[in-house]
């Protein structure tokens, strides 16, 4: 289907006409024919456009909508392959030139930033006033605000500070009909109108293109300490995780690293005053009992990133489970991967959100992912394939979206009636 759509006779002519029209909108220097490296999950686009501001971006979308061109929005391109391959793709609309930090209202703990700003650039600016966006995304040096929001990326800090849905307080979206709409605002507490920032978070750019966002901020910690705790089995680790979560420890992050033939290790992060940290350390050691507690450093918090190193040989999935279901899930992973002769490693957050890396034969990876998804879904969880095994047809990325799918499709239809944005890439073929 995809191959046919992109090699239809006449497409090239359409592309030439479109290129000209787009050049007049954003300037000749910001429209170019796509190259091989612009492909999205293996599907090549024809044109790449880089609008210079929100209005230009909205105009480009409106043009694409009227001309019937399918669009993939792109930020830093770090997570562009997440989701299903596009059912059709003509145009990449890049937010690279929308990269300004519009206002850091540090005394109000908010920031207004354009979608193309990288997370690292944002954090560096915020740090000048001792603040941060309390979020640890993958590849912050390239990942953008818009991309992180659309893909709903979050790491270990989510436990304490919530995910992007909890940090975003305002948004501007460009819609396919050229509308630029704002929702939310610059104040943390605000219940006027529907919460579109949450709707756009995790929507994979299928409803509109995020052009700017407003976030609530947190102070940078005065001091931090990280400890690593080892256990001999998944069951023992499960027990420890629940004990910590049921305690009055005030930790900012808590994750467990599991893998084939390696004993599980948990990492815990404390932030605060020196006096507070010392007390927390004592408390933790008491809770850990016989488990070994070692003082480690910030490097352990890159464990999720490390699952992605040379990932082209394997598969990476985001799995969601309940905190009390960790041991049971690990046992399922062990059982399934042993049968399939697949090597695995995982970083499981205390929130239940986890990253799983599998290495092995493509067919075996497919079977493992399918079986594991079925097992998780039976228990109220989910498995989303983020990196597809090479050398095989891609697995449906999302799994079962449940009985709200017709409503989700209705929302999509209201925002993008011609289905031009990331067509076919989201749940249930949205």
């Amino acid at each position: 289907m995809k191959a046919i759509a992109n090699s239809m006779p006449g497409t090239k002519t359409l592309a030439r006409g479109s290129e000209e029209a787009l050049r007049t909108m954003v300037g000749a220097a910001h429209v170019r024919p796509a190259e091989a490296s612009d492909a999205v999950a293996g599907v090549p686009p024809q044109i790449v456009v880089e609008p210079g501001n929100e209005q230009e971006l909205a105009a480009v979308l409106q043009y694409a909508n009227e001309a019937g061109l399918c669009v993939a929005p792109r930020g830093g391109g770090t997570k562009l392959s997440w989701g299903n391959p596009p059912a059709r793709l003509d145009l990449i609309v890049s937010t690279a030139r929308l990269s300004r930090i519009i206002e850091h209202a540090w005394a109000d703990l908010t920031v207004t930033v354009e979608a193309g700003c990288t997370i690292q650039c944002l954090q560096e600016t915020l740090a000048q006033h001792g603040q941060r966006l309390a979020l640890d995304v993958l590849w912050p040096e390239r990942a953008t605000v818009g991309g992180a929001l659309s893909a709903n990326d979050s790491g270990a800090l989510r436990l304490r500070f919530g995910g992007l849905r909890d940090l975003i307080i305002g948004i501007t979206l460009a819609l396919p009909d050229g509308t630029l709409a704002t929702s939310g605002g610059k104040v943390v507490k605000n219940v006027a109108g529907y919460d579109l920032p949450k709707l756009a978070t995790g929507a994979l750019g299928t409803l509109g293109v995020i052009t700017r966002a407003i976030f609530r901020l947190h102070p940078l910690p005065q001091n931090t300490r990280t400890f690593t705790i080892s256990a001999t089995s998944a069951g023992e680790m499960q027990h420890f995780v629940l004990k910590v979560q049921d305690s009055q420890l005030v930790h900012s992050a808590f994750q467990v690293r599991f893998g084939t033939d390696t004993p599980p290790e948990a990492d815990i992060l404390f932030e605060g005053t020196q006096a507070g940290l010392a007390a927390q350390e004592t408390h933790l050691k008491k809770l850990a009992e016989s488990n070994r507690v070692a003082k480690t450093g910030p490097a352990v918090w890159k464990a999720r990133d490390r699952l992605w190193s040379s990932a082209n040989t394997g598969a990476v999935a985001k799995i969601s489970l309940l905190p009390a279901g960790i041991a049971k899930t690990v046992e399922a992973v062990e059982r399934i991967t042993a049968r399939q002769k697949v090597h695995w490693s995982a970083v499981v957050q205390a929130t239940g959100l986890s990253s799983l890396r599998l290495d092995g034969d493509a067919e075996a990876l497919h079977t493992s992912l399918r079986e594991l998804r079925a097992s998780l879904e039976r228990n109220g969880g989910s498995l989303v394939v983020l990196h597809q095994p090479a050398g095989a047809a891609p697995l449906e990325a999302w799994g079962n979206p449940g009985d709200a799918l017709p409503l989700m499709s209705a929302v999509k239809k209201q925002f993008d009636p011609k289905n031009i944005l990331n067509r076919g890439r989201f749940v249930g073929e949205i």
Partner: protein
């Protein structure tokens, strides 16, 4: 209302579940915003999701608008009945269905009272975060509709932070599930959209809540300042020092007087009072308490009191939580407003409120969630004086306009409802509102669920701003434009 429809509603919810007698219907003619009143045609009290579905199915077929209602404590008219419509009260659906401590989740029906969730998990040292002042009577379903906040949402977040999943009866009577016990269910975050939608997208019949472990240590203190300016400067000092207290509440002189008269909280009589709460691990809190003390003194606090017992702490909070109701001691009538400003604009906004108040010749008492810039100006008036109510309403709207001008919001936690829908246009442009309508049209294309609330003017789905074209339901004679 047509007797056949009434008969059907009765068979949907049972004899005890239907109210039609005028004297009983009066109970439901308004919510906490009492100056708007509409008598509903009937009230149904379903006791299960299936009964809610059955009632909504009849409404959908007959095109009867409906309004869901919890405890009716809302302050913006969100539960105000609509003309020719029925009220669906969730009061009988008040069971806590599941307590899952290991995963820190509670599953509750919408009619469960907010404080009862905490009550259920308190023995295990857990609590439910959102704490609106009405928490001893208001319901979880109402909190979901309004995205309720409370004093402690500065640190712990609003209802939306604590609602992980919902069972919802859509306006076409279908039953769906949004979100779930586990985080990040694949698909759009429609639970995030539903929370705070003020009953306009459907009716929730089951709510999955997150609960929180009670902190090891809670310290509450009162600090008395000469004026709200110094109190505000102290709050800024804390934020600049990187502190995130659990709650930072402020009251001005008039509000303090009222609270004193009503509940004898033993507040120091001053121009600006801060009520602060710090919580967390013992050693951390003690260090921050010292720091807070110092910041308050440096900014001119002449008295600082730290609660020495749970009883003292409760008394400190009692004055604040009773602040609205205690206005009755100062004035026969009052309007509670709910504006938000960037916290740094507070001194300027308070000066302007003072000016507007003098101009209108009406007193305004101020109670704020100072940490997040949520103002609750209380406009005092006497209904018996001709024209005073109108003047008070006008003044309260002017204050909201001021909040928007300063980059804030017309509502931080009470909702838009009936009361503030005409203010939405001050805060959002026409395209912004039109895009919100698209969400509405996906959930409720016939506009049956709490219609005529939140948005400044009704718009049929498929309508575009600009040139008028009749909607298919209009041409079919199903609905009319007005």
């Amino acid at each position: 209302m047509n007797v056949h429809i009434l008969r059907e509603l009765r068979s949907a919810v049972g004899e005890r579940g239907l109210i039609t007698s005028p004297e009983e219907l009066h109970t439901y003619e308004c919510d906490g915003l009492t100056n708007f009143r509409v008598l509903p045609q009937a009230v149904v009290l379903p006791d299960s999701a299936q009964q809610v579905q059955a009632a909504v199915r009849i409404c959908h077929r007959e095109r009867i608008p409906f309004v869901a209602r919890g405890a009716g404590t809302g302050l913006s008219g969100g539960a105000l009945p609509v003309e020719n419509g029925i009220v669906i009260s969730l009061a009988r659906m008040n069971r806590i269905l599941e307590v899952d401590l290991a995963n820190a989740r509670v599953v509750a029906e919408p009619g469960v009272i907010n404080l009862d969730v905490t009550g259920r998990v308190m023995p295990q040292d857990y609590f439910y975060g959102p704490d609106p002042s009405s928490q001893s009577v208001c319901t979880i379903g109402g909190n979901v509709a309004e995205n309720s906040g409370g004093a402690h949402c500065l640190k712990y977040g609003f209802t939306t932070t604590h609602v992980l999943g919902l069972e919802v009866v859509l306006p076409d009577a279908s039953l769906i599930h949004l979100g779930g016990k586990a985080l990040d269910a694949p698909g759009y975050d429609l639970a995030g959209v539903f929370v705070g939608s003020e009953g306009t997208l459907g009716i929730t019949t089951k709510v999955i809540l997150r609960i929180i472990k009670r902190p090891q240590c809670i310290r509450t203190l009162l600090a008395a300042f000469p004026t709200t300016n110094e109190a505000g400067a102290a709050v800024s000092g804390m934020i600049a020092a990187g502190m995130l207290p659990a709650a930072v509440e402020m009251m001005d002189n008039l509000a303090i007087q009222a609270a004193e008269a009503a509940v004898h909280a033993n507040y120091p009589i001053c121009g600006g009072l801060l009520l602060l709460e710090l919580d967390g691990a013992d050693a951390e809190v003690e260090t921050l308490l010292e720091q807070t003390n110092e910041i308050c003194r440096k900014n001119g606090a002449w008295e600082i009191r730290i609660a020495q017992s749970d009883a003292e702490r409760a008394l400190m909070w009692k004055g604040r939580k009773a602040a609205f109701a205690s206005m009755g001691r100062l004035s026969p009538n009052y309007i509670v407003q709910d504006g938000v400003i960037p916290r740094t604009a507070m001194p300027e906004v308070l000066r302007e409120i003072e000016r507007l108040s003098a101009e209108a010749g009406l007193r305004v008492a101020n109670v704020f969630h100072a940490g997040d810039g949520n103002l609750h100006p209380l406009v005092l008036y006497d209904q018996r004086v001709p024209g005073e109510q109108k003047a008070a309403e006008l003044l309260s709207y002017k204050i909201l306009e001021l909040c928007v001008e300063k980059g804030g919001s017309i509502t931080g936690e009470h909702g838009v409802g009936e009361e503030k829908k005409m203010m939405m246009g001050k805060m959002f442009s026409e395209p912004d509102l039109e895009v919100m309508q698209r969400v509405r049209c996906a959930f409720d294309p016939l506009h049956l669920s709490n219609p005529s609330k939140v948005f400044p003017r009704p718009r049929l789905c498929g309508d575009k701003a600009g040139e008028y074209t009749p909607h298919p339901v209009e041409t079919a004679g199903i609905a009319e434009r007005f």
